[in-house]
Symmetry: C2
Subunit: 465 residues, 2 copies
């Protein structure tokens, strides 16, 4: 390569030039659009954005980065919550959104291949006519590449698992220019080291995902949903554990605390009982089967001191019933206009759920905070939706301290500091406490894959600044 | 350490001495008992066997091995089928069978902690009074440590996943003396690199598992089993795919070919229809629910040209019905007394099952062989039970060639060379074809964990001799 080239020029030389300006952008608007995520109040502006349209263009970008020692951070939809997609200052934001091809749909093998830029909602729209769906649902309309990179999960994980259980195969571009095929189309394997699993959840620090083959599932023939209210949190937790003990695996099993139900009532003019509440979706072979599940659910509610306060069978009715659960974030924004948010994300053993919810409530109180508490309770994954005016430094200090207390509690009961949002920048502080000497091994693995420390540097296993 | 010590003396000095002779054995009987597995016709005698009773003793053994450069191969129950537990000649066989403690049973969190030497059957006996079980069932009464090391799976994997999905946490002793805690008690996590998954399936080449925390499941409230016969293999495969498409996930979904049903009939004086056959176990909330599943199963059989030829509800009746499936190996041994066996183990996409079974049948014919064909068909995992007199070199050459043809076919359709038995020594020949350049990365990972190449050297990613 011409030694007189700077990396910006080299990048432009390496990638296609188009009438519209090409794949490489230095435009302030593009840079600003890739300078933040949806969770961290930091701006970190890249020096260039590459809009890759093919694996070859990803490799060309990595080659320039390698030669000139420029950092590269992959970008999907930018819905990260912990800073995972924030580019290194001066580095390249590698936007994979245009790699949105869906191919090789195999309705007999229950697989499909997607580009890393395919979004979840678009994929499921494409799959629906085949009676299939991809279940992992983190809420946001994230890209599949980003979801794999953070091992995303969500409301359906209690039934279907997260990305780790639903990615069959990956193609991954390494920093040295190799492209690895990891995994296979077989539903299980004992062949070689689990590099596919190692890459899933590595948040773009080990390689760049260039395509994914996903495991699909049949759309349930029939579903019913129910809303269950309980006199206290312990009873709601108890009901969710009893459900699991009966082997009645719901499609979704969600928890919202009483104050939050009240907030949603105000925002949506609903009249749901303002009590700790579970939302449950059950699937069945047919309507009668789903109804029988609902009968059992009513029994469990009664046995644990709760009651069914809403039932829904049609798609419209289910959508309305779930709206109260899904309306939490909007209710929060309506109640506190102008507030910024920060979402806690811990996951604890099911046997520690009740004490953890109590600890969270007490911690909020001690810090003079209020925050909606929602949880993928069937997995033990709890979120606190902290909020305050962006400029209220005192409130943010209390929020930081409260979330820190809660994260340390999660670790103390054998849980994890992040159930599904990833480590990014902000959870690095817990890596030593959670992983001990395994963190050193993780750093060795990072150095093995990326000896120049150019791939999303500083994230996940990076030293704290 | 005293430089005059040889490693054998150092090992004895480092480990407890007991009246019964201590932890270290050089007795020919002990050496011979650790010189072979159940699948590979090779004898590879260790120079010493260490019967470790604690993690500290594992670490002491690794320290001596490190200092003197002696190879160490972990040993569970010796039920490996691909040579995974064969010690390196002159090395140490590290027998973990005495680490058989079961502790920290948490029936609310659905977890239990076990030593690596705990056996599957003993664990489930201990769990049964709590209404719980550990579902992974590879057939053999293997140790949990060995099962994790090979990412074992089996008949129930179609419903519950294999070891990768059911190990919550591992403690692993590294060759350099560190002990890592990998995973947590949380049911999901996005925290850090998936080293737990990397260790699962690494067959003792990266570290020695010193304890495991397992994910437990409630025993199903009710089960029914059915036996379905089909006019041809394609129809049986079609039925299994239709079942999956209906979302009717069975507890087990097994396939046996017509000739093998005939062999079992002869051996057990049964009269099952000598046709391609599926065995299915369905679970339900209650008896009525399980019966409703059976009704749907009958419809699927009819729709795909098959019929239900056996139904069983009581535990005794189910045991009898499944005896025909489980009797395949005994029938083989009875029909061919004195024959040795070699079990093929491929896994293919569900959409390639029918063509793969046809290829297997044709390959047997072309090689003048007969062999029972059984499969965990819901996962696409197919086994051929090859057999011949141990001394019939011609037959074994044909068997090797046939299995090689079939393994290459599995790879050509996007499958894997080993669905559940692991790589060990014998499947190394497929690692390059299956993994491409990822094999080089696996070897780099091996060097990172075990720079002296002392942990189960040569296995999985080792060069072929």
């Amino acid at each position: 390569m011409n030694p007189e080239l700077n990396w910006q020029a080299a990048l432009q030389a390496a990638l296609p030039k188009l009438d519209s300006g090409g794949r490489v952008s230095f435009a302030p608007g593009d840079l600003a659009g890739h300078a933040h995520d949806e969770g961290v109040p930091l701006i970190s502006t890249p020096s260039a954005v590459v809009f890759a349209h093919s694996e070859a263009e990803i490799l060309a970008t990595l080659a320039v980065a390698r030669e000139f020692g420029v950092a590269v951070t992959a970008w999907g939809a930018g819905t990260s919550l912990e800073g995972g997609v924030l580019p290194a200052p001066g580095g390249i934001s590698l936007d994979l959104g245009a790699l949105d091809g869906i191919s090789e749909l195999d309705p007999v093998g229950f697989t499909v291949r997607v580009g890393p830029g395919v979004r979840r909602v678009a994929l499921n729209r494409r799959l629906r006519p085949h009676g299939l769906f991809f279940p992992v649902d983190p809420g946001a309309d994230a890209t599949l590449g980003g979801m794999a990179a953070t091992n995303a999960s969500g409301t359906t994980t209690v039934r279907y698992g997260g990305m780790r259980e639903n990615v069959m195969a990956l193609r991954v571009a390494l920093m040295d220019g190799r492209v690895l095929n990891l995994g296979s189309l077989a539903r299980k394997s004992s062949s070689g080291y689990a590099l596919k699993q190692l890459l899933i959840g590595s948040e773009g620090t080990l390689g760049v995902i260039t395509s994914l083959t996903l495991r699909l599932h049949p759309l349930p023939p029939a579903t019913v949903s129910a809303q269950l209210a309980f006199p206290d949190v312990a009873a709601a937790v108890s009901a969710s554990v009893v459900l699991r003990g009966l082997g009645l695996t719901p499609e979704r099993l969600e928890f919202v605390d009483a104050d939050t139900v009240a907030a949603v009532n105000r925002h949506r003019a609903r009249h749901d009982p303002e009590l700790p509440t579970l939302w449950v979706e059950l699937a069945g072979r047919d309507t009668a089967d789903a109804e029988a599940g609902l009968t059992l659910l009513r029994e469990v509610a009664a046995d644990t001191g709760g009651q069914v306060v809403g039932e829904a069978r049609t798609p419209e009715a289910q959508s309305d019933l779930w709206a109260a659960r899904h309306g939490v974030y909007d209710a929060l924004r309506a109640a506190w206009p102008g507030h910024a948010t920060r979402i806690g994300d811990i996951c604890v053993p099911l046997s520690a759920l009740a004490e953890t919810v109590a600890l969270m409530t007490q911690t909020l109180s001690e810090h003079a905070l209020t925050a909606p508490l929602v949880g993928h309770i069937g997995d033990g994954n709890l979120h606190l939706l902290m909020h305050a005016p962006p400029e209220d430094a005192g409130a943010w200090a209390r929020i930081d301290h409260a979330l820190h207390t809660i994260a340390l509690h999660a670790l103390s009961v054998g849980g994890t500091c992040t159930g599904e949002h990833g480590v990014g920048l902000r959870k690095r502080v817990y890596m030593r406490e959670e992983h001990g000497e395994a963190l050193d091994v993780m750093r060795d693995v990072k150095a093995l894959f990326d000896p120049q420390n150019l791939l999303n540097p500083g994230k996940v296993v990076g030293e704290i600044d």
